[in-house]
Amino acid sequence: MTAELIGAWVVVFLTLSIFSYLFDDNPFYKAAEHLFIGVSAGYWAVISFWQQIQPNLFGRLWPDLESLAGEKTLLQSIWYGIYEVLNFVTTGFGLLDRSVFPEGGIEGYDEIRFIYIIPFILGIFMLLRLVPKVGWLARWAIAYIVGMTAGLRFYSFLNSDILSQIKASAVNFSSDWGTMINGLIVFIGTLTGLIYFFFSKEHKGSFGTLSKIGIYFLMIKFGASFGFAVMGRISLLIGRINALKDYSAAEYNYATPIILGIIIITLIIWSLKGNRNQSELTG
């Protein structure tokens, strides 16, 4: 119960600190913001390492020796020698317990994937940014990511945004009138929307009129999306308010009203002090 109680008070304090932004940028908001950023940055760094780099990169390069098929070769012995060197370095030259590189390799894969040396080297290149003389090597890693992305997305976008859209434009003439008219409206909306995104032709005359119809379709869609998202945000707000209401109960030692009172009083004092300092400076 004590841990739950402390958790409830922390939740209420942080929630109300973030809400205090509605008054102004104040010490409560600043504290919550910095805590949020600091904790999340650390959390993501740890998650990235232990859920991506260690199992997916190191795990593929040095899988558990017992899971490898066949006799251990000389190359494997050298390869796992490098593994031991890395372990020696990461354990502070043997001072700490093994963690990143466990005994005998990392579980999860049953063959050594040497192709993963390339991302390993590119990752090291990124870190070399810390050494000014060879920092330019980081550009190679960035160039690889950008180039690979462009090529990979070209096909997927063509498939999902062009071919699927063309296929989906077919109107179902055998269904009821409502569905048919709906299909035709979507078809006209897509055509005129595409006309709006013509950049190498002046939007004048009938082309301009069609482009205008296209932008009307887009705005109607944006309006609907906006309304839908606002509804979602309101439900999130209701969720937070409900949580604050729950923590107002006696079993949580009236966390919400007490913290709310403290924050309001502190903000009033802080605000009055700020006004006084302001008038001293100007007066």
């Binding site: 973030i18 932004y21 940028d25 908001y29 600043k30 913001e33 949020f36 950023i37 600091g38 904790v39 999340s40 940055a41 959390y43 993501w44 990235s48 990124m126 940014r129 980081a138 550009r139 960035i142 990511i145 950008v146 690979m148 992305t149 462009a150 997305r153 070209f154 096909y155 976008f157 063509l158 498939n159 062009i162 071919l163 859209q165 063309i166 296929k167 434009s169 077919a170 109107v171 179902n172 003439f173 055998s174 078809f187 897509t190 055509l191 595409l194 006309i195 995104f197 013509f198 950049f199 190498s200 032709k201 887009l218 869609k221 944006f222 309006g223 999306s225 906006f226 998202a229 945000r233």
Partner: protein
């Protein structure tokens, strides 16, 4: 019809015939249609890029948001306040982020020219590195490397809402005169744009995320909608190869529109029983 167009058509036909001959032995089966489409798009783009490079005139209609970039930086300089550039919360594997960083290069050139402050908070380490490279190059290009410092592009956190809280904090404390939101955004878009609006900054946004465009349209002064955002770099650079690719993309859009009309008509005939062949089977599953 000019020679280059004829060569392009011949090249396209030869490639798809070769694919057809090698299907099943050299190439995988079942992707003939998709391969043809990839080749059609690639050949069209190449043709127009080549045409632009050899001096072909290409008209581009004006986009209001792009003209406003310089005005916004100028306003920030006059007010003695910094410029805030938010490249979104995605990594470099998103086309929007790459596009955003290209535009960051242009914004950085303008801030260097006007000697205005630039603040670029990022949420991904690789974006930070790419952003620094972009800014360094821009400041060097306009002859002001002395104004560049690494920390103008700085990391906050990977977490979406912590990042939004951090950017909001920067906005209310530094009160930038101009805010740019150019990249891939999710639910944090309205939080950022609303805060920027509340501090009275001139705001220019651009994203390809359809779900976030409404928020930027509502809260920002100018919004580059979808493809306007992707073509912005070509508009600003005025490089013939990029301008040619815009023309090529317009032609591809023309093909798409024509294909849609044909699909509706032929599929309608099939549904009414006037035709035996269903055109939709061409697309596969």
């Amino acid at each position: 019809m000019n020679n280059k167009l004829i060569y392009s058509i011949i090249f396209f036909l030869v490639i798809i015939v070769l694919y057809g001959l090698g299907e099943g032995s050299l190439f995988i089966t079942g992707s003939y249609f998709k391969f043809s489409m990839v080749m059609l798009v690639a050949t069209t783009l190449y043709y127009y890029i080549d045409r632009a490079k050899t001096g072909g005139d290409i008209y581009l209609r004006p986009i209001a948001g792009l003209k406003a970039i310089e005005e916004a930086v100028g306003r920030a300089t006059e007010m003695g306040k910094p410029v805030l550039f938010v490249p979104g919360i995605s990594d470099m594997d998103q086309v929007e982020t790459v596009s955003g960083l290209i535009l960051l290069g242009h914004v950085a050139e303008t801030t260097a020219k006007y000697e205005a402050g630039l603040n670029v908070p990022v949420s991904k380490s690789i974006v930070m590195e790419a952003g620094r490279e972009t800014c360094r190059e821009s400041y060097l290009k306009v002859g002001r490397p002395d104004l560049y410092y690494d920390d103008m592009v700085h990391y906050l956190t990977d977490d979406q809402f912590a990042y939004a809280a951090g950017v909001n904090g920067i906005m209310v404390r530094e009160k930038p005169a101009a805010c740019f939101y150019l990249g891939k955004f999710y639910a944090e878009s309205l939080i950022l744009a609303e805060t920027g609006n509340s501090i009275g900054a001139i705001q220019i946004a651009g994203t390809g995320s359809p779900a976030q465009i409404p928020f930027f349209v509502t809260a920002c002064d100018y919004t580059l909608i979808g493809e306007e955002f992707f073509t912005a770099s070509a508009y600003l650079s005025k490089k013939p190869e990029l301008l040619g690719s815009i023309k090529g993309q317009d032609i591809v859009k023309g093909f798409v529109m024509a294909a849609m009309v044909i699909i509706v008509v032929l599929n309608g005939f099939f549904q009414l029983g006037w035709m035996e062949f269903d055109i939709l089977t061409v697309f596969g599953n």
